[in-house]
Amino acid sequence: MAPQDHTAAAGTGSSEHLLDSTLETIDTAEALVTEAAQRLGIDEDDIPGLGMAIRECVANAVVHGNRYSTKKKVYLKVWVGERSLEVLVGDEGDGFAVTDVPDPLAEENLMKQSGRGILLIRAFVDEFVVRKREPQGTEVRLVKHLPQ
């Protein structure tokens, strides 16, 4: 699917993308969100962290959700509002519950190789919501606000 742009007032608007379940999609998503963040005027110092949050979300969708399936897509929607940036990342996997992810800061998990992605996402965005996607998969919503 070709990207669909819905641009409203100068700088605001949204775009939707249907992306392959590949590692390249992680770079693509980061670039799209970084461009939107710059358009909104998010502080340059905050953009790498936001980029990391997006990369972790999309990596989860590609690796754990769609398991690199060529038959499954990653859905990305980016909204630029007047004072906030909102991103939806969807996959077509079996779904997961955030509460099932062990706390990576617990002593017994500190030396585990994986399990830090959600911690990093939460560290760099203002809102983070995970919900079931219909008919299948998981949808993650991230929001980054401009400072008041």
Partner: protein, 114 residues
């Protein structure tokens, strides 16, 4: 930019100079392979210079933790050198500052193994 790594000896300390990104995919697997190879070859004092590493994701952090465990299991030590602010922040967020010894100065890092 992918990950490039070279090694050099400073006395009996092996310094790994890394540059680029340690991220999911080639970057993190190249890092894993190098640390495992060095550990299995008997290198016990490893100082990982991250001064030119611009970006590490959770996969890269995982490989650093795994590398630390691998080297420790071989009776060695893996320490970190030259972290930029972003990587320092990641170690703070993940509480791994409590695991890794971190140095800003190479000579100090090398001396710490003695």
């Amino acid at each position: 930019m992918s990950l490039n790594m070279t090694t050099r000896q400073v006395g009996d300390v092996t310094v790994i100079d890394a540059s680029g990104r340690i991220t999911l995919g080639e970057g993190s697997s190249a890092f894993r392979d190098m640390v495992r190879d060095l550990a299995s070859q008997g290198h016990k004092k490893l100082l990982l210079n991250l001064g030119d590493v611009s970006y590490i994701d959770s996969s890269g952090i995982g490989e650093m933790v795994s590398g630390f465990t691998t080297v420790t299991n071989h009776g060695g030590m893996l320490k970190l050198l030259g972290l930029n602010k972003r990587v320092k922040d990641l170690l703070q967020i993940t509480k791994l500052y409590t695991v890794f010894e971190v140095f800003d100065d190479e000579a100090e890092g090398v001396r710490s193994f003695q």
